[in-house]
Symmetry: D2
Subunit: 414 residues, 4 copies
Amino acid sequence: MSLFSGLLGSLFDRTSSWISSQKQTEGDITALCERLLSTTGEASGQSLAHDILDKYATLSDDEKKAFFLYLRHNLDLDISASIAALSSYKASPDSKTYSAVHAAIEPRRLVLFTRLNAEDGATERLVEMRADILAHLSEMPELGPVAFDLQQLFISWFNRGFLVLRPISWQSPAHILEKIIAYEAVHSIDSWDALRLRLAPADRRCFAFFHPAMPDEPLIFVEVALTDHIPHSIQEILADDRPVLNDDAFTTATFYSISNCQKGLAGISFGNSLIKTVVRELSADMSAIKQFVTLSPIPRLAKWVASEGIDADGLADAEIAPALTAHYLCHAKRADGQPADPVARFHLNNGALIHAVHQHADTAPLAQKQSFGMMVNYLYQVPDIAQNHEKYAHGTVVAAAAIHSLAKKYNATD
Amino acid sequence: MSLFSGLLGSLFDRTSSWISSQKQTEGDITALCERLLSTTGEASGQSLAHDILDKYATLSDDEKKAFFLYLRHNLDLDISASIAALSSYKASPDSKTYSAVHAAIEPRRLVLFTRLNAEDGATERLVEMRADILAHLSEMPELGPVAFDLQQLFISWFNRGFLVLRPISWQSPAHILEKIIAYEAVHSIDSWDALRLRLAPADRRCFAFFHPAMPDEPLIFVEVALTDHIPHSIQEILADDRPVLNDDAFTTATFYSISNCQKGLAGISFGNSLIKTVVRELSADMSAIKQFVTLSPIPRLAKWVASEGIDADGLADAEIAPALTAHYLCHAKRADGQPADPVARFHLNNGALIHAVHQHADTAPLAQKQSFGMMVNYLYQVPDIAQNHEKYAHGTVVAAAAIHSLAKKYNATD
Amino acid sequence: MSLFSGLLGSLFDRTSSWISSQKQTEGDITALCERLLSTTGEASGQSLAHDILDKYATLSDDEKKAFFLYLRHNLDLDISASIAALSSYKASPDSKTYSAVHAAIEPRRLVLFTRLNAEDGATERLVEMRADILAHLSEMPELGPVAFDLQQLFISWFNRGFLVLRPISWQSPAHILEKIIAYEAVHSIDSWDALRLRLAPADRRCFAFFHPAMPDEPLIFVEVALTDHIPHSIQEILADDRPVLNDDAFTTATFYSISNCQKGLAGISFGNSLIKTVVRELSADMSAIKQFVTLSPIPRLAKWVASEGIDADGLADAEIAPALTAHYLCHAKRADGQPADPVARFHLNNGALIHAVHQHADTAPLAQKQSFGMMVNYLYQVPDIAQNHEKYAHGTVVAAAAIHSLAKKYNATD
Amino acid sequence: MSLFSGLLGSLFDRTSSWISSQKQTEGDITALCERLLSTTGEASGQSLAHDILDKYATLSDDEKKAFFLYLRHNLDLDISASIAALSSYKASPDSKTYSAVHAAIEPRRLVLFTRLNAEDGATERLVEMRADILAHLSEMPELGPVAFDLQQLFISWFNRGFLVLRPISWQSPAHILEKIIAYEAVHSIDSWDALRLRLAPADRRCFAFFHPAMPDEPLIFVEVALTDHIPHSIQEILADDRPVLNDDAFTTATFYSISNCQKGLAGISFGNSLIKTVVRELSADMSAIKQFVTLSPIPRLAKWVASEGIDADGLADAEIAPALTAHYLCHAKRADGQPADPVARFHLNNGALIHAVHQHADTAPLAQKQSFGMMVNYLYQVPDIAQNHEKYAHGTVVAAAAIHSLAKKYNATD
């Protein structure tokens, strides 16, 4: 990473000092934005972009809201002009009328965002700006189109073809590793020693996606345990005193934690690509690894149990719990017909299948509360992934026969 | 570069082999495109994208034309749906109606291009596809909107913030250097020995912009000579037997050749950024360098002379040539009021000024033919760049007093 | 570092697996050594070397002692053969007799050590072997020649020309940083947070020497504080709430901690080179830095005070303490006439001078006990370094006039 | 490579400028050497070392000879002191007497060479110095001990454990590639296009050993052709129009050219290690490659034919040539009983066996002259390498049964 950031960063490090000598501090942020939108030159534009992002960083919460409303209303697309341009294009479809459509329909805030992305570090700050907008969205739903425009921009910028997969290890730079500690969202990492236990042992792997314009910020990462069987509990995976296997004994790679890192990139999906790329990577490096599986939480199980009016008391230890869990994963649905469980939706949509459920699989308080300690393995079988995805897209929850039987057992006892 | 390409390339190198095992060869290219547009899964999408780009590479010229027409007509934006969506948005401006506008107005070919950019190497192939389209444009002007959409996509992807400046030297990888030889567009490089003379000596620099998704392809590069004065001729710069100066004697950096490398990126401007970034880079590294200047060709001088009915005979050696050249640069205009000379337009728009003109400055046959051997120095004075650009944007050709005097001399003799 | 280790390590990583397939485990370690000494082929030699180093790692303490005695007595140089070879060389000095001297005089253990150094990682294990020998040396002084031979070998291998200076920062790999924590010998680092405070702030630097054959092991490192004045206490340097200066305000680089990392390299001096190289490095990077100074402990002050029969009670706060310290540094000598203080000997021999002494400069218990909390600045003035060293080599303790005056004050009150 | 050299070089690049400010130009080179030998400080030592190497580079041939004689006679070991030290050690074998032996026996020139190796680039210059000495050795055999001492030093410095294997490809830096062109010693490379044909195709590999202290200078390199059979001629290997195979079709790696690069490192053997390391490397990367073989010249065949009084006329096309060649390789011996052919000695000693001989295998004039166009495959069978080497060490020429039969055929016709 230091290398990567070096490559991309070194030649641009001087940007700030060069630009700051031309600092244009007059005017509030909207005035600066208007100037940036009206400027034609790159030199003054880059300087203005720098000033605007600096100014944004100092805004109070209220000032930010005002700025967002400015983006929403003052820099919206011009509906009448758009309709007029479309009509012209219809009448006479050529390059000129076509580009006029583009010019009319593009909201000025999109032009602004693109011009703001003029120097090293700007992308990261725009991602943070979207995180700020999203944080205000429930309170100010009218900001939806602004968040949407940034999302479209990021979908383009953070295109799969531009992402870089990088292994994260105990050899990685500390300033990246401290972010792994901070961003771990599933099984929290309490200390550098705990991190070392996740990264340094020979049976652990970790991979992250990075984007060249944000070389010091992981976008998403996955933690992997290599084993000789499909694991049944997170305790088993995280046990310090687990036996050490030889490299050639590894047959199974378990994805036991996947964390998105950037709130501002919500709605831009990296998880599916990450899993596929890591499967490919590990397959190529360690040919003995034949099984790719997750050990996943079931975050909505307890909520569903409550909504169904099922007695949750003692469920963690109840004999029926696995069958109930299988039933929930296979049959509990949202209003739109998709599975109730968000983690299930994610892996099923990726083309995995439900392979097994495990009781007492996570003894941490949160897991007890959310899912009575139950966990589930989703299995990624490379030859079936595309087909499984298609089935899921057509409404079928793909699961092992044993899971379907188990689910039926619940109905039987029901 | 090998390093860089390594970083970005290594983990993706296996893409092809993985994907090829799932190859879906049935169907012609438009059928494949329709399938890619209708697929929902990333795995099958990536495989389809790969197949489509492979298939494209094998198309005959006529098949390509047919494919371009398909992109133009079958995958165009839906005008009626767009107008309807805009009306809905106008009536009820919220997130839903807003994203519906986006969905309606986005031509399906843009979705296709984005999905095609799914794996390492795809960006480069899309750039080549646009080069193919541009090559057919005069013959098939209706393809304008297709070229325009790709241009918009590339403007987003090749955003200044994503470009990487890399020094090119005799230590650079051979597979990059052979491209420098191939792409040099101003003063051609005939052999590896000639290349060595451009890169290895202590008074030579070369810089290129790269994009992380095309690590082996320079986008644009500039060749720089370090001297203790502003040079008067290209012969002087390229002379093998020039005196060797100490590093601290360099006061002047002369940009004597700027070459765009990718035909498919025509219309996406990198030159201005490249010059500014290199100026910053050299300023930071070599504090004694105070003058940044070009030694530029004047490609339309002879055409203008002809169009004016001026007798070109003996002009290369005529005493009046410098005055005539100054006059041409300052006063010859296109229909739109901008300077007639394209190189002048480029540097003046960047914020440079016309500093000096030189006779017998390029003895090569092409230069003799285009400009009677005349060349010109454009001067980049860092503190004045933004202001010069603004002046130019308002119609003023900025030039040294001596150039204005010289231009007047021509009028006087006229 | 990960990069560096990658470069040097990657291609050799497979060594072990290849070799282990040919493992030759029969025989105890001395039998294996005899076989290695008698083998002629590189392939079997490399395998044997691997086995010997593996076996060594499993030896008990007593077995190690026995092995050391074998090295000492069985693999010593052949005195008679050496004298005979020297006589032949004297009689007929040519290539043949000369190389015969070399063959005779070289103890077989040196041949063994060289052959053991056959694969990646071997150098590090030989350095550890010498650390083991040194740990037994006071108990088994007869091992002196074995330790001496390894020292000679290491002086050749760890030649200044082969050392690599690398900045250590918060961007450095965690597996290197944990060694910085472990090896810090002057002002201990208690946690990763404490380490971050030493590395991440803009006014901190750290540099280490590495050797290409031990890319994951620092040999020595120095921690540097950048300030706008010469610091008076370690509390001042390590204060979390110190004011943040601009980069161009730094005028002074203070070396406040230098730690040797490898016990097995005792007697091979890196400190002098490290300081000189870092001075050069910082001078080149930050031209405003003009003063290079240490803030050093005075580890033998209390012992000297005791040996002189001076009353140490209340000395930490006594007005006379600075004068006494100046006197000690300038005039207290060992039996061989060199300064009594080892840190003084080191810096004076490097060409520094005694610049200032400070009371209450280190409030840590160890410093209170060793030196009543007194510390000293040694000043490295680049133009005077060579001359200062020469003066010191001829018996003069070089110190600022103020220090000499202060020392005199002590005598006066004495 | 640029990376590597960057790592090792970057921080030392400023050495020269720092040191040159302290330049001590007075005195001839021997006076400077005496000063370096008598100095105690590193700072002045480094500066002196620099001056001495600079001065050496300017010496005329006669001055060099005088300098070499100074090294030979003035800086030789002290025989009487050595004998005295050995006697003391015999009488009282302890650390002190032991180190005294070392001090006495070490010629002062060895101390000088070690001190000269004080800065970046010095190692390379010492290697060149030995090349100069070797060039004068036949004329001045008394310089043997000087060359010997440098050889011993280089054997230590260029220890196998310190060498770095690096792939050489068309992605390698041009300044390294031009050295491959220059150093190719077997089948010469005429142009950059020819080089490209050796490096860029998918069925070509090249590897070199480097030393960290000489990052821009390959020590030895090998060119490898990947094929699906053992090749019969160099024309076949170098044919531009050869069929392109898929990666998984490669079963055989043929080492068709091995070149030592540094004359000053003559007598320090890298070839055996290089072949073994490349075999390991290719085995790990391309598991389908099972055969490792050379296509080697037979440089002394024609000389032997002449010495045997055999009629060489028409031998290139004669039916008997293969049998004669097999006989020569198996039975023609030097005075010391080893094979007459130097290339055979090299590969047999490495543990290879003679696999096949080929007629019309090299149509180049030199090969026609040296060996009537005959070439030979030596086969490296990994499991047998150690054993083959041992057999060879005990006097057996290991060859395939077919070669022995062929050799007998020659005797039969003889």
